[in-house]
């Protein structure tokens, strides 16, 4: 099943809302379901290998962190009966329950967002945003940011090397290093201001103006996938009512 951007966004919203209201076992069940869907549904598969690796790394880190934090919560939040005691360390039911609830919520939220951004190119999301009337400036800012982020590390490295070569105290004690921050940020920001002025000129020379533009085409309502979007949105509302539904 091919999922388009609006369907994926609605699905992610549904999962985020559910994570806030669902009990831990439901959240963990949904995480498992998402992991299966990620492999089974082509529209949810990662775009490339680095994205798939990032998904595994972040989720693995979160899972490990959730287990550790659950343990620490169980030790330090002394609420409810003691569940386990060993060598003077007591695990309290209230703390464990809090840790499990928080951990499962984080896992569901994170896996929903990772699957969305891992399976959808940024250009697809920005095109959709533009189609639904998000100001063109915001869409262009996102694209330009991605362009700048790609070149920033090398610019920072060049400035760092140049400042080090002229004797800036980049490896001295912390107060000197604090002042050295200026010697790196200042040329970086100054050169970026000059570049921004030139880029602003280039955009305006090509007819770009800040006047609002109408979207060229809209998501057709009669498309069957729009029904799916509405279903996910309705499920989001149902998720908000979950605590009452479950009593």
């Amino acid at each position: 099943m091919q999922l388009r951007v609006p369907e994926k966004l609605a699905m992610t919203l549904c999962l985020l809302v559910t994570s806030l209201t669902a009990p831990p076992h439901l959240s963990l069940a949904l995480v498992t379901l998402m992991l299966i869907a990620r492999r089974a549904i082509p529209g949810l598969r990662p775009m490339d290998n680095p994205t798939a690796r990032r998904f595994r790394t972040v989720l693995g880190f979160l899972l490990g962190g959730a287990i550790i934090m659950t343990f620490l919560n169980g030790v330090l939040i002394r609420e409810g009966p003691i569940l386990f005691q060993w060598a003077g360390i007591s695990l309290y039911d209230g703390g464990i329950e809090f840790g499990v609830r928080t951990g499962s919520r984080l896992l569901l939220m994170t896996s929903a967002l990772l699957i969305l951004f891992g399976s959808t190119p940024l250009s697809g999301i920005t095109t959709f945003l533009h189609q639904i009337g998000v100001p063109i400036q915001i869409v262009m800012t996102i694209h330009l940011t991605v362009h700048f982020v790609a070149s920033m590390p090398s610019r920072i490295e060049r400035i760092y090397s140049a400042q080090e070569a002229r004797g800036a105290p980049l490896r001295a004690h912390s107060l000197s290093r604090m002042f050295s921050l200026m010697s790196i940020l200042s040329p970086l920001i100054l050169s970026s201001i000059v570049e921004s002025i030139e880029r602003g000129k280039a955009l305006e020379l090509r007819g770009y103006s800040s006047a609002p533009r109408r979207a060229d085409d809209t998501v057709p309502f009669s498309s069957p996938y729009s029904i799916l979007t509405i279903c996910f949105l309705l499920l989001s509302i149902a998720a908000l009512l979950l605590p009452w539904l479950l009593g």
Binding site: H143, I197, K201, A202, L203, E204, L205, R206, G207
Partner: protein, 265 residues
């Protein structure tokens, strides 16, 4: 139709209390001419192009200007206050800045210019295909615009300007960092446009403009030092010695065609 450009007694400064960039500059460029504007660094070459494109009036709100500029049938007193897109196109010195960075392919990058003109998608794509074919960029149409060579990026930047079919084309040091093959290619592209477009290009050292420009203008410290054909330019070079910085004058002199006698100092 290619416009006539008339500049009448232009005076310009960035701030009221700042140094003047132009002082009493008067110039006439006939329609369909390729005019090369030469001059040392700080002569005002880039500023002249920015004034003619309208970007100077649009973005530099504290500037002070006097005089009259006429571009075709439109008269501006003193200077255009908004960019004159699409009638006027300006190719900036740095193609990496001109390429917006907001599109993933060469074709989409060039199409971005036309998206500002409310042209139908079909017409846009046709014009993009045509301009890419004209500039020999068709094989690169699906490549990332910044993932190509310097000469190709310059041509992509030029395509993004030409796709709007400007009648006045301004080029700021277009041969900068281009190898001789790319320069030759660029000259061919500009020659093919001369009948329908008035072209004004800046060049530091005359190399690129030779064999292309019909008219030469030399600026120094915001003043007009010379205006005329290339033949008149080489004859007048001696008289310009006191009006130009000596290093720049020697540079121009070194570019004299070899068939002519070098004038000793």
């Amino acid at each position: 139709m290619a416009p006539r450009i008339t500049i009448d007694n232009l005076a310009y400064r960035y701030f009221a209390a700042g140094n003047p960039v132009f002082v009493g500059l008067s110039l006439e460029i006939p329609p369909g001419t390729c005019c090369a504007v030469l001059g040392p660094t700080g002569a005002g070459k880039t500023t002249l192009l920015e004034i003619l494109s309208g970007i100077a009036g649009s973005q530099c709100k504290t500037s002070v200007a006097e005089g009259i500029i006429q571009i075709g049938e439109n008269q501006y007193e003193p200077i255009p206050k908004a960019t004159l897109f699409p009638g006027v196109g300006l190719l900036l010195q740095d193609p990496d800045v001109q390429i917006s960075g907001i599109r993933d392919t060469v074709a989409a990058e060039v199409e971005f210019t036309l998206e500002q003109l409310s042209i139908s998608a079909t017409d846009r794509q046709r014009r993009v295909r045509d301009i890419l074919a004209d500039l020999g960029l068709s094989p690169l149409s699906q490549r990332h615009p910044l993932g190509v060579s310097g000469g190709e990026r310059q041509r992509i930047a030029l395509a993004s300007v030409l796709v709007a079919s400007p009648s006045l084309l301004l080029l700021d040091e277009p041969a900068n960092a281009l190898d001789s093959r790319s320069q030759h290619l660029l000259k061919g592209i500009l020659r093919s446009r001369k009948e329908t477009t008035t072209i004004i290009l800046t060049d530091y050292s005359i190399d690129f403009a030779l064999g292309l420009a019909d008219m030469f203008v030399v600026l120094a410290a915001g003043r007009l030092v010379f205006q005329g054909t290339s033949t008149d330019f080489f004859k007048a070079l001696v008289s310009m010695q006191d009006l130009l910085p000596i290093e720049y004058w020697k540079l121009l002199q070194s570019r004299l065609p070899k068939t002519r006698v070098r004038i000793p100092l």
